[in-house]
Symmetry: D3
Subunit: 273 residues, 6 copies
Amino acid sequence: MNWLDEGALYSSIGLFLREDLGRGDITTQSVLPRNARARGRFVAGETMIVTLDPQQQLEAFASDGEEVEAGKVIARTSGFADVLLAGERVALNLLQHLSGVATITRQFVRAVEGTEAKIVDTRKTTPGLRMLEKYAVLLGGGTNHRYGLDDGLCIKSNHAGIAGSLGAAVKSAREAIGHVHVISAEVANQAEATEAIASGANVLVVDGLGPAELADLVGHVRKLSAQVTVEVSGPITLENVRAYADAGPNLIRVDALTQSVKAMAIGFQIQPG
Amino acid sequence: MNWLDEGALYSSIGLFLREDLGRGDITTQSVLPRNARARGRFVAGETMIVTLDPQQQLEAFASDGEEVEAGKVIARTSGFADVLLAGERVALNLLQHLSGVATITRQFVRAVEGTEAKIVDTRKTTPGLRMLEKYAVLLGGGTNHRYGLDDGLCIKSNHAGIAGSLGAAVKSAREAIGHVHVISAEVANQAEATEAIASGANVLVVDGLGPAELADLVGHVRKLSAQVTVEVSGPITLENVRAYADAGPNLIRVDALTQSVKAMAIGFQIQPG
Amino acid sequence: MNWLDEGALYSSIGLFLREDLGRGDITTQSVLPRNARARGRFVAGETMIVTLDPQQQLEAFASDGEEVEAGKVIARTSGFADVLLAGERVALNLLQHLSGVATITRQFVRAVEGTEAKIVDTRKTTPGLRMLEKYAVLLGGGTNHRYGLDDGLCIKSNHAGIAGSLGAAVKSAREAIGHVHVISAEVANQAEATEAIASGANVLVVDGLGPAELADLVGHVRKLSAQVTVEVSGPITLENVRAYADAGPNLIRVDALTQSVKAMAIGFQIQPG
Amino acid sequence: MNWLDEGALYSSIGLFLREDLGRGDITTQSVLPRNARARGRFVAGETMIVTLDPQQQLEAFASDGEEVEAGKVIARTSGFADVLLAGERVALNLLQHLSGVATITRQFVRAVEGTEAKIVDTRKTTPGLRMLEKYAVLLGGGTNHRYGLDDGLCIKSNHAGIAGSLGAAVKSAREAIGHVHVISAEVANQAEATEAIASGANVLVVDGLGPAELADLVGHVRKLSAQVTVEVSGPITLENVRAYADAGPNLIRVDALTQSVKAMAIGFQIQPG
Amino acid sequence: MNWLDEGALYSSIGLFLREDLGRGDITTQSVLPRNARARGRFVAGETMIVTLDPQQQLEAFASDGEEVEAGKVIARTSGFADVLLAGERVALNLLQHLSGVATITRQFVRAVEGTEAKIVDTRKTTPGLRMLEKYAVLLGGGTNHRYGLDDGLCIKSNHAGIAGSLGAAVKSAREAIGHVHVISAEVANQAEATEAIASGANVLVVDGLGPAELADLVGHVRKLSAQVTVEVSGPITLENVRAYADAGPNLIRVDALTQSVKAMAIGFQIQPG
Amino acid sequence: MNWLDEGALYSSIGLFLREDLGRGDITTQSVLPRNARARGRFVAGETMIVTLDPQQQLEAFASDGEEVEAGKVIARTSGFADVLLAGERVALNLLQHLSGVATITRQFVRAVEGTEAKIVDTRKTTPGLRMLEKYAVLLGGGTNHRYGLDDGLCIKSNHAGIAGSLGAAVKSAREAIGHVHVISAEVANQAEATEAIASGANVLVVDGLGPAELADLVGHVRKLSAQVTVEVSGPITLENVRAYADAGPNLIRVDALTQSVKAMAIGFQIQPG
């Protein structure tokens, strides 16, 4: 599945350019001859997973989601010098950030290779960049979780508390929502897992357990139902993700895919012509 | 100075909420009784500089830009439970990110305390968040550089290359732009500094020098003109920033204020009522 | 669940008013004294299920979704005469249409009372009015189906044809979409039902069967799985809906809730004051 | 005259597509290979007046406003399968509705053939679809009345009541509006007709009279002025419209052209290729 | 009649403020203490007709359309100093321009006092300011002509040329447009006037005749029809307008009301408090 | 430098067309055959500086900023007659106004030829047309001043009054704004000039002095600093501008470039074909 709505994408990029350009690049307008032409190239400054698609006007030398080494020319472009100079900063800000998302995602995906677990993203995204960050997660080999609050139900302890009990909350959701949506419920132990499944939950979100406890819970759930999905949440790191994956969950939700993203080093080299 | 345009701010927050909410929070709509009320509080998970202003509807227990310890309740709110739950994720994503910007800025500002140098931000901001990130830089004690390409001239080697020489580029800019704007020029050594000043540059942007070389260059510039501003750029870190500040520049431009931002840990605790 | 996004609602009503008003009500501007006041009341012209919520500025004498008899004053309003006259036509066009949706929905819901079947709407809505029509369906006692193409998967024969087989299409969807969404599949007979369930479908959409055949299919499905939802589609009318409901499906999808809607007779009586 | 503003049209169709697509057609994205191609055709399910123009990207086999029989292929299209599947529902919803408007209009127009009377539409349109519905009325052979409240004056009993008298209202309008606009006035009998004409009304709107009374009124008006237009309003049906037309009015206003529209049966058949 | 659509007005003023403010008034932000308060007053610098309504937040000492002498304080305001300083230029630009329109209009209206002729405006307005300029014309005592191309028909020689003859163009328009709109036709002499009236024109627009020839034409037209409106166009000035008015036309169209508008001198005096 | 943001330009022209067209040109729709073609040409009615660029779809016979004589065909166009007729008025309104700006600017520029002084525009522009008017100033040979309140600091007596003193205001601005922006200060005499320069002002704006007093002030300033720019403001006319220029200022700010603009006579001649 692919959240990359092109209309929304161009609208976002327009916003980003406008944010930087305001009433125009007064340096370039003042210094360069009109119609001067230039060529530019984007060069990887470190090993990374490349995210290029949003800038389809580039001539790419790497495909979206490909791993490249430092020094690799990943794309080049040519045209009017003022256009290149005006778009340079926005393009770099975006490429560096999204390649950061794709790169960290790939690291998590590799860490769980050979297990059943899929690496999924969260709603802890940078405001305004969710669509692009979720696209970068896909390029990194991850799986998208729900896009937003309207795209699937997730009953948390807050909901359960206000509704009276976890079971009551799940039943109420099942009644209201009919058969069209999947219902997730956060559970902390086997008793809650049992209650949630009995009330009709399709997905259990497990937070706060260590790998061993998780393995026990997964075993418990599998006995109760073959259909229920187990999803792990919590402070998952590159160090502990394999241990969690080995415990047998279906999904591992990783905040770090889109939170505190480390921008990748990408340079832009420009020359006349 | 204060870039926090309120109209633009509310428009951005509206976009961010829409991004997460889509057609509505179907979990809360399905589970909670209509008109249920709740109270929530934002709690610092680590020591940080707080950035709260954009969410003025909160009852704040810390002022914007204040340093708080882990465990501090920084703000609370109450209202309809569905509204609190719907806005929680967006509010946290934003607060955590902006507090991250303010916190790292404060660290750099403290590192140069007692010198003449000001810490300034760059255009390496998160696409769509420039206004808010620049506001967070101010809260952290930093100084804003130009907002965008229309807000001051900066002649880089790219421009000089295409225009023929650095001096030609500066002169051309001075001619075109009249007396209304300041002109910055990137220089790599004393010869270029001399050329830029002779051509009318007001600010010299120095990149790629070590602290000792920088001190020499500053001395050279001060002899040529009392008015010219010296700004350092390059790979400035918390480790080396003091050495650069001691070399006597007016401004130190730090990419890390708004690039690869580490989100601060902030929790949201909600309960009925 | 409740699709009535208030922001979108006011934006729509603004569009509808603009459509009728253009540059202003030149009749009223030319004839009435400025600041003349008036009172108006909306009167039911026939028995109907009332849909009033979108016009919350009215003083309502019936609650949303209530059944009223001809002659009933369902709401009144007062204010500047020019405002009342300017909004009259748009308000009536909308109320009459939406009350028509709620009223026909209620008739279908009553026809299946006592069975397990829920009456659900379709995407055959009036362009631009989907949110409001789906809200009126709720008021009539119906259940909303997916809002749009992004709100649940439904594999039709078109998809199956292009993908090679029904089973292949369902499996492909299951793989791509992960565990977050429910998958519906159109089936025409028991063999296809078996194939779809085996491939992971959660909902079977049955079209083109008579009530007796449907009962057989439902029996067949129940033997294969207790979790699978059966949904009937096709030319469902007030005459045949009960027979279909008695065959045991979970959902009955009715085009007529929102297609070829008969506007309810509602009058607007205005007088000075 | 032709209300079909193309800019507004594309903007509306964009809204309608967005309403259905949301963040994208997740079924098609999950099931179909990228770049799969398909062909589709729209087939009339009953005799109807076709309204196709808004979808000019179709290859049409009938011209806008043409009458076609059941089974007729009215248009075909080909392209990427995902695009066809994504637009299918919106296209059908719109075509079926507008062809319904054109078809009922044609029935009314035929019923008055050979008389002087023109069939005109009203402001009782579907909110958001006025431009398109008025275009469909033209295709059906009808005549458009004023587009909205800013497009001609119509003094109703409400206005007359607040202004004091019908004559006062018409005179006030004539004074305010100058010579640029036509003034219509609702009259219920010969005395009011005389008063309205004496005060400067150009059009008399007659509501609530039977055909015989109408004929008398028309005769009375024609004696007073050769320029005044007589327009009939009220519960006009296919059964009584001829009798009204024979009474000699210039215009017959028919609510049913755009209210309680019966969608025409049109199918969309798609196949790979 | 009153084109002053408030929604459009506020939207326009928002645009105008944004045009001047951009990212904010950096002078005031840098210099004034936050929350400093100030009082300001608008003072007439010459005799003029005042146009104030669009700035309803002012405390006005003159009513819209009133004539004031130089030195008169026409309005005052108080509030945060930064708000007053930020809006000052836009307010003055608008008031000075619109008061210019109202003032010249009043001069033309006075020049024809005692005759039958009304002074009407044209579509030769400043792009983006039509609504406000037409409102200022009303305040000056003038009469508004059609708002735009959709608000009345005017057949010019261009149309007649392409349609074959003036009579053919008028007849074609009469047929297409039905009875809802008035039809104007440009005529150059008595023969064309006769042809236009015979074809159904309601208004004759006469251009290029001197006052004496115009009087002859008016006499000719009055003999043919009592209903037809005569409108004069052409190079009408304050010097010749009376002579034209005495020739007996109904309307005199004056380019100079909204073209080459002389801004009135209005000052803004501000002081702390 | 060039404020002509193309995106904003097309958006403005769209607004202007919509303002005039509303729901369409009903005259042309009623009279002309569909697809009739026509040719049109714009003809100068007097000597003027031409401003054509915004209408790049024209075939131009004069370049932007060129001086043409009366009778000169400055551009021609051909296409569908309805399109030409629909855009004619808006195009003329804009061309006539902008050519007026360019023409008066050229007159001022010629008047100071041979001196050091540049003619600069002000923020006294027509609301909504600032970008286009500033572009026309450039074409006329003038220099643009700051675009708006965010594009440079200008400390006026209002600011000085509220801040306590002129020097305090300048120092406060210098502190707040850092080294990125130029600071202008209004001064009335030599003492204020001295104070402003001592506090760090880069530009002195002198208002209310005669040419001789100005010359004295310029001499005084030049002795204090070689870098400071002197800008004259006040009631500058074509008659007195030369005397002011001879006094030696760097910039002369002229309200009349964009205030009370006299529209140039330009005709549009259209014929079939």
